[in-house]
């Protein structure tokens, strides 16, 4: 007898020890892990900066301040999207998701702009260590943003594709799994946005 339970059925039997859905909990652990990753990179930077012989400072291009605003915008927008989803205002939800996506893209473009400003002043990837660190850390963070954007895109495409389908929207209301997945996405975005804010402050203090 080969009975296959679906993932959903298995999860329905979860017990409520932490009061959090196990997958959300798993995401938190992943966040701890990503935090360690960025902590490792930034502490590596600090160690090298302490080694005064090899550290040549420069001022952080102001573009990065604007990307910080962009990323905060994403957080606000996507959170609003989640709230309208919960209130079953799906049209509003779709557009807010769409704006979040645009803001996320804007963020990446501003980061690229930041790089080109650096290039313009001669601070290439290999020019010196302080520059190299800035490139690598922003790139590592950018990869996370890009992944977040991809997943966001899947949500948006689904939402727009099925916007005329009342059954689909009905399932949005009653299917806890779909809401869970949205919540996971939103948490991830809040997290990765916060990482950028941290990185920005860190850079701001260390590059002057």
């Amino acid at each position: 007898m080969n009975v296959t339970l679906t993932e959903k059925e298995i999860l329905q039997e979860k017990t409520e020890y932490t009061g959090v859905h196990p997958q959300k909990f798993a995401l938190w652990i992943a966040m701890a892990s990503m935090t360690m990753f960025f902590a490792a990179l930034t502490s590596a930077l600090l160690v090298k900066k302490g080694d005064y012989r090899s550290w040549e400072g420069f001022t952080l291009p102001t573009v990065f301040l604007f990307s910080t605003f962009a990323v905060i915008g994403v957080s606000v927008c996507i959170h609003a999207a989640l709230l309208s989803y919960r209130k079953s205002k799906f049209a509003q939800f779709r557009w807010l998701m769409f704006f979040s996506f645009l803001l996320g893209c804007l963020f990446l473009m501003l980061q690229l702009k930041g790089w080109s400003v650096l290039q313009a002043v001669g601070m290439t990837l290999t020019e010196n260590l302080s520059g190299s660190f800035l490139y690598v850390i922003t790139a590592a963070h950018g990869v996370h943003i890009a992944v977040g954007l991809l997943v966001m895109l899947v949500f948006i495409v689904n939402a727009f594709k099925n916007r005329k389908d009342p059954i689909y929207e009905l399932r949005d209301i009653i299917n806890p799994k779909r809401q869970l997945h949205l919540e996971l996405l939103v948490s991830f975005w809040h997290y990765i946005d916060a990482v950028w804010v941290y990185l920005y402050i860190f850079f701001f203090l260390n590059y002057r």
Binding site: Q23, F25, A30, A32, A40, A44, L125, N128, S132, V136
Partner: protein
């Protein structure tokens, strides 16, 4: 009676009432893209065994060189080709062998193989859950592990050979892609980085699942202090993994930037053939910090699961409760915390500030305390028990012996002043092979022999098992004990022929090589036993049959895994998940040999807690 059965069947039908929705499993979904924790466990185990054979074989090859540096072995040329021209292992290949041996055994066997197998098998079973928090991510974890292995394996077959700059991947040698400097630093090392990156992703995906499952998906009544020590160990292992692997990833990212895009994170003023390369400002020591920030916790990632398995096996097979259960839990926790603040004991000779060295010495020696508590408790568990000399239990006892022997030399090495003499000598090799390599293997073997019936419904052969045990125990001591006395002999050398002082170790080197070959052959016995028993092993005895499901309990254990039928069902329990009423170590109490965790307390019975 009639009605009772009827009610039972009804209930049964109820649970499976929605059977139409269940799609029948195909070969592909059952064996290949399985999301079932038990199948994933087998996948990890068998992949781990494969890597164990490869990694072991590599060590036999380099032991041929170390034991008989002046001999040639013509048969080597026929299957290694240019790597062993004239039957002598080339220098380049020797370093590749040492490097890949370390990488494979540390990461692919004792991390992926060990944690992957037992976390997957035991966590859902013993906490009382139908599967992992996310079975899908769990499957991905295996597939990343396999992918990492494929990449590493592939690197053996490229022109310049696999990585050869040591399992610790230090720059500067690994920071340059120049194969004129070191063959293995070419494409081989890029593949190493790629393989390790996939491996790290696998470890992270697996780890977050393990933690989420233990904390969220326990059955009714399974509070934290009713968890078996296996689960505590596996969970804390996962915590260490998710917090320390990212540091290695960061280190590897920077390293690959140096290699591919000419940044200078780790490189400074490098001169090759009289040419000054353009790297400036970097520091190879930075990599060592990032590496050992993972590297030291990594050794506990390897040993903690083994400790958990051993605690469980010792208690079961000695028919006695684990001695000092809570002390065990808090010792693991203490080890977890301390493991993050001792990494620089691997770097005492890097020009580390001596005052800092003293602090790291202090923390390092502190680890001896929880370690000693655990050893004491294991001995206390066995003490005056009705000890069964089963293979599983012998390996568990062997683990304790090995862990003590290797731990003692750790205390010696932990003193920065002494370590300056001993660093990078065979003494270190002896230390970590005994305390980590061999011990973890013993824990793993104890686990495999003990839980094989759970995986396959059959036992492994005991006679072969006993031979395997004695060959391994005696052989492993024969290999590593003499290394303590090869005073001053540097590790990782291709030959010592140019150093007259070391000539007097020639006999020992030969002796060690012979022992290594014998131990390797002993492991072949295990592999034969394993695969033979899958198909032909003695079946687990059926103790009772309920609703058409056969139940057994081969070792008479209290934990939940045997409250599930012998057959391995997806979802583990045909009906409801059983609730838990007591701690997992009620052995030889109330005049009973063992009381399962599922059994309710008798009126007036005082629970252990």
């Amino acid at each position: 009676m009639e009605t009772a059965t009827a009610a039972h069947t009804d209930h049964h039908a109820d649970v499976h009432g929605h059977e139409e929705h269940h799609h029948e499993e195909t070969f592909l979904t059952k064996y290949i893209f399985s999301q079932d924790h038990k199948m994933i466990s087998k996948q990890f185990l068998i992949t781990g065994i494969f890597w164990g054979i490869v990694g072991g074989l590599l060590s036999v090859l380099f032991r041929l060189q170390l034991g008989w540096p002046n001999e040639t072995f013509p048969f080597l040329e026929s299957f290694l080709g240019k790597w062993a021209e004239g039957g002598k292992i080339s220098q380049e290949f020797y370093y590749a062998l040492v490097t890949m041996h370390g990488t494979i055994l540390v990461f692919f066997v004792l991390t992926g193989g060990l944690s992957g197998t037992f976390a997957n098998l035991l966590i859902p079973y013993q906490v009382g859950s139908r599967d992992m928090a996310s079975p899908f991510i769990n499957m991905l974890s295996y597939w990343f592990f396999l992918g990492a292995g494929v990449v590493m394996f592939f690197s053996f077959f490229i022109q310049t050979g696999p990585a050869s700059g040591g399992w610790t991947a230090y720059p500067p040698i690994n920071g340059l892609r120049d194969t004129a400097v070191n063959l293995g630093s070419g494409l081989g090392f890029d593949l190493w980085i790629l393989g390790m990156t996939l491996f790290i992703v696998s470890a992270l995906l697996g780890g977050l699942n393990y933690i989420a499952t233990v904390l969220n998906m326990r059955t009714k009544g399974m509070n934290m202090f009713r968890l078996p020590l296996t689960i505590w160990a596996l969970m804390f292992t996962a915590v260490i993994g998710v917090l320390s692997f990212p540091a290695l990833l960061a280190g590897c990212v920077l390293l690959e930037f140096d290699r591919l895009l000419d940044t200078s994170f780790y490189l400074n003023n490098i001169i090759i053939n009289g040419n000054l390369l353009g790297y400036k400002g970097g520091s190879p020591i930075l990599f060592q910090h990032l590496f050992w920030f993972l590297g030291h916790p990594e050794v506990y990632i390897i040993i903690l699961p083994a400790m958990g398995l051993v605690s469980e096996v010792l208690s079961t097979h000695s028919r006695k409760p684990v001695f000092g259960y809570k002390a065990m839990v808090f010792s693991i926790l203490a080890i977890l915390v301390l493991s993050f603040i001792v990494w620089a004991h691997h770097m005492f000779v890097t020009g580390l500030n001596p005052n800092l060295g003293a602090i790291f010495t202090l923390f390092t020696l502190l680890i001896a305390i929880p370690s000693a508590i655990k050893v004491f408790n294991w001995i206390g568990t066995v003490w005056r028990g009705k000890v069964r000399l089963s293979t599983a239990n012998l390996f568990a006892i062997g683990f304790v012996s090995m862990f003590i022997s290797g731990g003692l030399t750790g205390i010696i090495l932990g003193n920065s002043a002494i370590d300056i003499q001993l660093h990078d000598t065979m003494f270190v090799v002896a230390h970590f092979h005994i305390v980590m390599g061999v011990s973890a293997f013993f824990g793993m073997f104890a686990g495999v022999y003990n839980w094989f019936p759970r995986l396959y419904g059959r036992y492994m052969n005991e006679t072969l098992g006993l031979i395997h045990f004695y060959v391994t125990l005696i052989g492993a001591y024969a290999i590593f004990f003499p290394m303590h006395f090869m005073t001053g002999l540097p590790r990782r050398y291709y030959t010592y022929a140019n150093f007259e002082t070391f000539n007097n170790f020639n006999f020992l080197a030969e002796f060690i090589s012979i022992a290594a070959i014998i131990v390797f052959l002993g492991q072949v016995l295990f592999v034969i036993n394993f695969f033979y028993s899958i198909f032909k092993g003695r079946r687990v005895e059926v103790e009772k049959t309920v609703d058409g499901y056969d139940y057994g309990n081969p070792w008479g254990t209290t934990t939940l895994e045997w409250s599930s039928p012998i057959e391995r069902l997806h979802g583990n329990w045909p009906g409801d998940i059983p609730a838990v009423h007591r701690w997992p170590y009620d052995y030889s109490v109330n005049g009973r040999e063992y009381i399962p965790q599922t059994e309710a307390l008798k009126p007036g019975e005082v629970p252990h807690e």
